[in-house]
């Protein structure tokens, strides 16, 4: 057991994956000598060489498109997209090739590519650096989409994503990169990649969330406990496929659900969770499923992001509304 940051846990996980399988490559802008703008790949090029940690041309469609070709050749590329808002030049290759090649060839051409994307706001950045585009990927058949929220998950989930044969869009909560946590190096400690997890048991109400909002929800639960409310917090971890079994079990006990995400609410992960839980737990619900999300606007200038992003108070406000129903 060791204490480490989420960023270092990802770095350790990538290193372990590269040591385990010589076909694992890292490719992206500035991931080599610089170690990535967030230093997630720090030191890897020095240890594994320029043909396993590729400083690529500045070309996102190229990063994904070339990764697809490398995967066809038998490699397992791990792509870094520098910021969430920069993925869209590569979106065509992700949707048209990466997601569909297995289906097109009925399993004969697997494309085990992982696309890492630092996502979400809260760092005071300029436009295109704070977005939460996860539902744009969850909507695409053939892609798996996950979001880690803490160092232990970061360490294990990245290795599990690389080891699998499906393409995985791997979202990393950039404002939590420097949060510390315990990492258990014993593999049996790692839950399966596509499973959600209760991170705080409770009985009054269920909070379901993922990525950077897990910490926000845990803080909200701590604050609510002072008022005698015992909130259960579930980290969804996997966004496609969703693992809603633990959420449904929880809602059957608590009768109340609030879903929290930084992304806009329309046609989103939170709307999918609300729809499915509404269908599955109709007779257990004491209140409608409420959502706390970013607004259906473009991401605002950073001086306004504290208003845009769900925070402890907005989460607790929704909790109160649910309890008062």
């Amino acid at each position: 057991m060791s204490t480490t940051t989420l960023a270092k846990a990802l770095n350790d996980g990538l290193r372990a994956a590269m040591e385990r399988d010589p076909k694992v490559l890292i490719m992206g802008e500035d991931v080599g000598r610089l170690g990535g703008v967030f230093r997630i790949t720090d030191g890897l090029q020095k240890d594994f060489g320029e043909e396993r940690v590729l400083d690529t041309p500045l070309s996102e469609s190229g990063i994904i498109g070339a990764a697809v070709g490398l995967a066809v050749r038998g490699f397992r590329p791990v792509c870094e997209i520098q910021f969430d808002g920069f993925v869209f030049p590569g979106y065509d290759q992700i949707v048209s090739q990466l997601a569909k090649l297995r289906y097109r060839t009925q399993g004969r051409v697997p494309v085990p590519v992982v696309v890492r994307i630092p996502f979400g706001g809260g760092i005071g950045a300029v436009e295109h650096h704070s977005e939460s585009p996860e539902s744009l990927f969850a909507h695409v058949a053939g892609l798996k989409v996950v979001a880690c929220s803490n160092p232990a998950d970061a360490y294990w989930m990245i290795q599990q994503a690389i080891a699998g044969d499906d393409p995985v869009i791997f979202f990393e909560p950039k404002r939590r990169y420097w949060e510390k946590g315990e990492v258990d190096p014993d593999v049996t400690a790692a839950p399966p990649l596509h499973s959600s997890r209760v991170v705080r048991p409770g009985s009054t109400l269920t909070l379901a969330t993922y990525g950077p909002m897990v910490k926000t929800c845990l803080d909200a639960a701590t604050a609510a406990a002072e008022d005698g409310q015992d909130l259960e917090v579930i980290d969804l971890r996997t966004l496609s496929p969703l693992d809603l079994g633990p959420v449904a079990d929880s809602v059957r006990r608590t009768g109340r659900l609030v879903v929290v995400s930084e992304a806009p609410s329309e046609s989103s992960i939170t709307s999918e969770v609300a729809a499915r839980i509404g269908q599955e737990c109709f007779f257990s619900l004491e209140a409608p499923v409420l959502r706390v999300t970013g607004f259906d606007t473009p991401y605002p200038p950073s001086r306004l992001e504290d208003d845009y992003l769900p925070d402890l108070d907005r989460v607790l406000d929704a909790v109160d509304r649910s309890l008062a129903w």
Partner: protein, 397 residues
């Protein structure tokens, strides 16, 4: 005599004269001295200092074999067109006129070389040992591609224009990372097919950049068939396409795309460059799409019959036939035998197509993911139950 002026369409209702069409075609540039040609449209073998050595082993038997490929590929293509007209295929993408570019370049490949086609490369598929019947599923709607992609080293058809140029660049980077480049005998290379319209796509530009940045053993094979559906070459480029390679720092060359010998020789050269570490290379095969873009298209709406007539004089098959008959005295029996074989192939494709089974609904849900997906599995089970609920005493509807 005064040089005829090309037609300038100032008034969209005006029509050019025949002379103006011919002048316009010359203006488009057939290549001049820069166009590699080993077999003229009249069937004359012309010497080429640079490329003859890449066709040195092509004797009478090989030319006959190339002729056979050209004729059979055209017959398979015409059968595809006919099957669409008969309602057996939803659509067909004709290659008529591009047989030499495809057969010539395809026959330059070795079994270990990798090939990334777009969606019109039925002739290249033929040279990779893929039977025309294996292509039908895409156009009949029973599959998205059914051949042995890995074993034949022929990637699935790519329909989104230009995507494959980056996929091919990645694959060729992999060949280099695996140290398969350097030896002209044992080295591997990749070839990527795309059209003149694709050259306006960002992915083709990025493919050029990536292949150059990683010295990838990749031959970019552009079939310039003059038309991107209804949009002429002049809307894609100001310069001849092969000249674009210079801007990326690798060689570009223009070959007569209707000359199977030249396409074979130039592609062999380009592959050798790649195998020995001098890749990438861009080849522009100057050819013409004699039919519409697809069976859903109507080329008479946007181009002139005169233009098509002119290109008929440069037919890729006719020049080989003339060459064989005049230069080598090949008897009519040979040509008749090939025609008979072509008709048999047509019959076989037709009967195969008509007997292709309708896939069951469970096929829709298969291989979306490598690992099982509770979402997709649940939808499959629910839909199959629903489907089964229509079974009546008279059997399944």
């Amino acid at each position: 005599m005064e040089e005829p002026q090309a037609w300038v369409p100032t008034d969209p209702r005006s029509r050019p004269t025949h002379t103006q069409v011919v002048a316009g075609l010359k203006g488009v540039d057939e290549g001049g001295p820069e166009l590699v040609q080993l077999l003229t449209p009249e069937g004359e073998r012309v010497p080429d200092e640079r490329f003859d050595r890449f066709a040195g082993d092509i004797g009478l038997d090989e030319i006959k074999s190339l002729y056979r490929d050209l004729v059979l590929v055209r017959r398979a293509d015409r059968e595809g067109n006919a099957l669409q007209r008969q309602g057996e295929l939803g659509i067909w993408v004709p290659l008529l006129g591009q047989e030499a570019a495809q057969v010539g370049s395809g026959r330059a490949l070795r079994p270990d070389d990798m090939c990334f086609p777009s969606y019109r490369e039925h002739g290249v598929a033929w040279t990779r040992g893929i039977d025309p019947t294996e292509l039908l599923g895409i156009f009949r709607g029973t599959d998205h591609g059914g051949w042995d992609f890995t074993g034949r080293r022929f990637h699935p058809y790519t329909i989104v224009i230009g995507n494959q140029c980056l996929n091919a660049a990645g694959y060729a980077m992999g060949q280099r990372f695996e140290s398969k480049v350097g030896d002209p005998e044992t080295g591997e290379a990749t070839i990527c097919y795309f059209g003149d319209g694709a050259t306006s796509q960002g992915d083709v530009h990025e493919g050029f950049v990536w292949a150059a940045a990683y010295d990838a053993p990749l031959v970019f094979f552009c079939q310039n068939n003059q038309w991107a559906i209804s949009v002429p070459l002049s809307k894609q480029t100001r310069v001849p396409l092969y000249q674009r390679a210079r801007g990326y720092g690798f060689p570009g060359i223009r070959v007569d795309g209707n000359d199977v010998l030249a396409c074979l020789a130039v592609t062999r050269w380009a592959l050798e460059e790649c195998r020995t570490g001098n890749g990438p290379v861009l080849i522009e095969a100057f050819t013409y799409r004699m039919d519409s873009h697809t069976t859903s298209d109507d080329a008479t709406r946007y181009r002139l019959a005169d233009e098509v007539e002119l290109w008929k004089l440069k037919d890729p098959i006719e020049r080989v036939r003339v060459h064989l008959a005049r230069r080598h005295g090949v008897e009519q029996e040979f040509f008749d035998a090939i025609d008979a074989e072509a008709n048999e192939l047509g019959d076989r494709i037709r009967s195969f197509c008509r007997a292709m089974p309708q896939p069951g609904p469970e096929r829709m849900f298969s291989e979306v993911y490598a690992a099982s997906s509770p979402q997709v599995d649940g939808q499959r089970d629910e839909y199959l139950d629903y489907h089964a609920s229509f079974e009546t005493s008279e059997g399944r509807r």
